[in-house]
Subunit: 94 residues, 7 copies
C-alpha cells in the first residue's frame, strides 16, 4: 500500500462523468474533470518548525473536494491516485 | 453538506444584477459580477504553526464582500458556491 | 454599514480636484487621482500567528494618505469606498 | 502635519544640484537625482508579530542617504516629501 | 559512501521499464521515467531555526515515490543517484 | 562621516587592477571589477523580530570579499563607497 | 587566508576530468564540470533570528558534492575557489 508522507493524502479520484448532448456522449476532452474523490490514505502529519507533528484533520474514507490544480498523479498497481497536501482540500462532503 | 477545511468559508454568491440601459436588458457579459454573498458554512479554523486552531471570525449567515479574484467555484447538488479563505473577505455588511 | 475584516480599514476617498489651465477645466483623465481620504470604519485588528488580535492604530475619522495602488474599490449603497490594509496607509494628517 | 505610520519616515529631499559643463547649466534630465535628505517626521515604529512596537532608530533632523528607488512621493501643502520605510535608509550623515 | 547533508536522502532510482507495442520495444524517449526508487542513505536531519535537528522520517531501505521534478542527479563510483529533500518524497510503498 | 543603518557596512572598494597584455594596458572595460575592499564603517546591527539588536560580525578595518552584485554605490565628499548588508560579504581576508 | 562569513564554506574544486574518445582528448567544453571538491575553510555559522550562532556541520577537509549552480567563484592569491552556503552542499563523501 502507499503511505503518504507528512501532511499528504492519497485520493482516489471520482469517475469522470460523461456529458451528453441530446443523448450523444461527448468525446473525452469535453468531459468535466472531476474535483472530488475519496481519501484512501493519510500521512502522519506535517512537522512543525519545532519538530512536533501536527495531527491530520482528514481521515481515510472522507469524501473531499479539491482545487483543480491540486496534487500530483501517481500510478500504483494499475490504479491512478492523486497525492496532495491536506491544505489543498477545500471542503469535505458530509 | 459541504464543510470547508481549515480557515475556509463557503459562500453563496448574490444573484447577478441585470444592468439595463433605457429599459433594455444588457447581455450577460455586461452584468456586474457580484462581489457579495452569504456565508453558508465555515471551517474549523486555521492551524497555527504550533498546531493550535485559530477560531474563525465569520459565522454562518454573515453577509460578506470579497475581492473579485477571491475563491474557487465549486458545484454541489446543482448549486454553485465559492470557497475562499476567511482572509479574502474584505468586509462584513452589518 | 460595512465592517472591515481583520486589519482592514474603509476609506472615503477625497473628491478629485479639478485641474484648470488658464481657467479651462481639464478633462477627467488629466485630474490628479487623490491619494487621501477619511477613515470611516476600521477592522478589529489582525490575528497574530498565536491567534491574538493586534489592535489597530487608526481610528474612525482619521485623515490618511495612502499609496496610489493601495486598496480595492467597493460600492455600498451608492457610495464608493476603498478597503485597504492598515499597513498600506503611509501617513496620517494631524 | 503629516505623521508617518508604523516604521515609516517623512523625508524632505535635498535640492537637486545643478550640473555645469564649462559654466553652462545642463538641462534638468542631466541633473543628479539626489539621494539624500532630512528626516522631518518619524512613525511610532513597526509592530512586531507579538504586537509590541519596535522603537525607531532615526529621529527628526537626521540627515539620511537612501536608495534611489526608495519611498513614495507625497505632496502636502505645496511641498513634496518622500515617505519611506526606515529600513530603506542606507546611512546617516553624522 | 555518500552521506546526504541535512534533510536530504540519496535514492537509487528504479530501472526504467521498457514499453512495448505489439512486442516491439520502444526507443528510449518513449519509456516512462520512473518516479520510484530505494533510499540508500539519509541525512542527519534538518536544523530547526533554534539549531536543533529534526529527525528524519525515512530510513535506508524505504521504497519511495517522488515528484518527477524532485532531486538532483549525482554520479558516484559509476552509479547514478538522486539526491532530494525528504519533503519531496510523496509516499512510501509499504 | 557616514554611519550605515542596521546591519549595513560601508566599504571602500579596492582600486581596480589594470590588466596588461604584453605590456599594453587594456582599456577600462577589460579591467576586472574588484570584489574586495575595506570596511570603513559598520551599522549598529539588525533588529531581530523581538526588537533586540543582533551585534555585527564585521568591524572597521576588515578586508572583505563580496558578491559582484552586492551593495549600492554612494558618493560622499568626493569619494565613492559601497553600502551593503553584512550578509552580502562572502569572506574576510585574514 | 580567506575566512568565509556566516554559514558559508570555501571549497577547492576538484580538477576537471578530461574526457577522451578513443584516446583523443576532447576540447574543454566537452569536459564534465566537476561538482565535487574539498572544504578548505568554514564560517562560524549562521545567526539564528534570536542572534545565536548555529554551529556548522561541515569541517575543513570534508569532501563534498554540491549542486552545479551552487556558489560564487572567488580568486585569491592565484587560486580559484567556490564560496557557497553549507545548505548548498548535497552530500559528503565518507
Amino acid at each position: 500500500m502507499l503511505k503518504p508522507l507528512g501532511d499528504r493524502i492519497l485520493v482516489q479520484v471520482d469517475e469522470e462523468k460523461e456529458q451528453t448532448v441530446g443523448g450523444i456522449v461527448l468525446a473525452n476532452n469535453a468531459k468535466e474533470k472531476p474535483q472530488s474523490g475519496e481519501v484512501v490514505a493519510v500521512g502522519a502529519g506535517e512537522k512543525a518548525p519545532d519538530g512536533k507533528v501536527i495531527p491530520m484533520t482528514l481521515k481515510k474514507g472522507d469524501k473531499v473536494i479539491y482545487d483543480k490544480y491540486a496534487g500530483s498523479e501517481v500510478k500504483y498497481e494499475g490504479n491512478k491516485y492523486l497525492v496532495m497536501h491536506e491544505k489543498d482540500v477545500m471542503a469535505v462532503i458530509e
